[in-house]
């Protein structure tokens, strides 16, 4: 499979990159790790006339603490997320999620920015970003802005990005020390997208849930933030009856497609099962 012809650009700065994207308009696409875009180009589902490779823009790399936030450059790879001591200590859910994405080869090249900007409901990082209340730093020809992850996803492959804009970094408020988190993903094999997956971040206080945030992957056109389910759990001891209610609330907001991963009803139920497992694991990891 050979993609259509295109002109290749490799800018060195964000300014140059967004300049090229503005100049070529609809014809142009940003290229990061290429592990979602190149397969689409090989199938000719994407036929950009210009590719703007972000790989040469060093300002888009790196992981740093900034006050109470962690800021991760868009072209930071999944492999780099896994290897980061800062993330392992402060945001272990990112490492856990990255290890469940694809396979080693894909993770060496696939980037966080590409994963969150792609807009494919199968991508794993977006639901984690909803769960963590992350925001995306975005740059375009006319300037920079920030978009909350919870306001970013509008439909399959439709996001709040305007034409010519790129995500430059992902900003994540660090959950309090002692928080518990888990990402549970049901997949048919390594390298498969989720049948359903759930991200949980919670804090406990005196045996009760003090806060709880939940994201769901691949059970709707967009990643889902299960706000109601999180509210139901807050104040509870994660007793079976309350978990059941929360699971039902989470299942109620799903609308998965029936596909090779199973019928819609099955995928909805699996979202509930993944949520229950993620809750139990997050609780076990949380400090009192």
């Amino acid at each position: 499979m050979i993609p259509g012809s295109f002109a290749y650009h490799r800018p060195n700065s964000v300014q140059e990159a967004v300049g090229l994207l503005a100049q070529f308009g609809d014809e142009a696409r940003a290229l990061a790790g290429g592990h979602s875009l190149i397969p689409m180009m090989k199938l000719r589902l994407a036929k950009p006339g210009h590719l703007v490779d972000l790989g040469g823009v060093s300002a888009l790399k790196g992981i740093r603490a900034d006050g109470g936030d962690i800021v991760i450059g868009a072209t930071t790879t999944q492999h780099e997320l896994i290897g980061s001591d800062l993330l392992s200590a402060k945001l272990p859910i990112l490492r856990e999620t990255a290890l469940l994405i694809a396979d080693p080869q894909v993770r060496y090249l696939g980037t966080l920015g590409g994963n969150v900007a792609n807009g494919d409901p199968g991508n794993d990082m977006p639901a984690v970003m909803l769960c963590l209340n992350a925001s995306y730093h975005v740059a375009g020809k006319t300037g920079e802005r920030r978009i909350a992850a919870r306001a970013f996803y509008q439909g399959a492959y439709f996001t709040a990005l305007e034409p010519g804009e790129i995500v430059t970094a992902v900003r994540i408020p660090v959950p309090p020390a002692g928080h518990g988190s888990a990402y549970e993903k049901l997949k048919r094999k390594i390298g498969d997208y989720a049948t359903a997956a759930a991200a949980v971040v919670l804090t406990m206080s005196g045996g009760k849930v003090a806060s709880c945030s939940i994201g769901l992957t691949n059970v709707a056109e967009t990643p889902l933030w299960a706000e109601e389910a999180g509210k139901i759990l807050t104040g509870s001891s994660l007793d079976a009856a309350t978990v059941k209610k929360a699971v039902a609330a989470a299942e109620a907001i799903t609308s998965p497609a029936t596909d090779g991963r199973g019928p819609a009803r099955y995928r909805t139920k699996m979202a509930g099962v993944m949520l229950a497992r993620a809750l139990a694991r997050a609780k076990a990891r949380a400090g009192a």
Binding site: M1, I2, P3, G4, S5, F6, A7, Y8, R10, L31, G34, H35, I38, P39, M41, K42, L51, D53, G55, H79, A102, D103, P104, Q105, V106, Y108, L109, I190, G191
Partner: protein, 166 residues
């Protein structure tokens, strides 16, 4: 579409060539450089037969453009043997432990295992399985591939081979 000039180091030798931007790295290696060790199995980024070592990473060359490899350092199976012509410990391990049958997956397996052992010289069996999970083999059932990698890991660490061969 105008061709681009690329330069890279492949198996220790400098390479300079003109490529169309849409040329995939696997086609460049196989058809322009005549390095037919990296194979095209699935052509959809799943099987790992096209894996090479690229700037210290294992990558699937069916999912990368040759222009992206400008300035890079690449190693393929053709560059695995030792300078004196003897086999690399991994190649020897695959022979000794029967780590291949048809051999189609082998160049990708060996290059992936090479990087795995660079990052983790004494992997557990589970770490090997997880580490090669992006490479499919239709023949062996993987058991002997694991043994071959254990053989090479032991040899490269200089510990007795028996331990790995059990």
């Amino acid at each position: 579409m105008a061709k681009s000039q690329v330069t890279m180091t492949v198996n220790g030798k400098p390479v300079e060539a003109l490529v169309e931007p849409r040329t995939l790295l696997i086609h460049f290696l196989r058809e322009q450089l005549n390095l037919t060790g990296p194979h095209i199995g699935c052509d959809t980024s799943h099987c790992g037969a096209c894996t090479v070592d690229f700037n210290g990473m294992s990558v699937k060359t069916c999912t990368m453009f040759a222009v992206q490899a400008n300035g890079s350092d690449i190693r393929t199976i053709e560059g695995m043997a030792n300078a004196d012509g003897t086999m690399h410990a991994l190649q020897e391990g695959f022979r000794e432990m029967h780590g291949l049958q048809c051999g189609f997956c082998t160049p990708g397996m060996i290059l992936r295992a090479y990087r795995l052992l660079q990052e983790n010289p004494s992997p557990t069996e589970e770490e090997i399985r997880f580490g090669i999970s992006g490479n499919l083999c239709r023949c062996t059932g993987y058991q002997n591939i694991i043994k071959a990698i254990q053989y090479a890991a032991a040899k490269l660490r200089g510990v007795p081979l028996q331990e790995a061969a059990e």
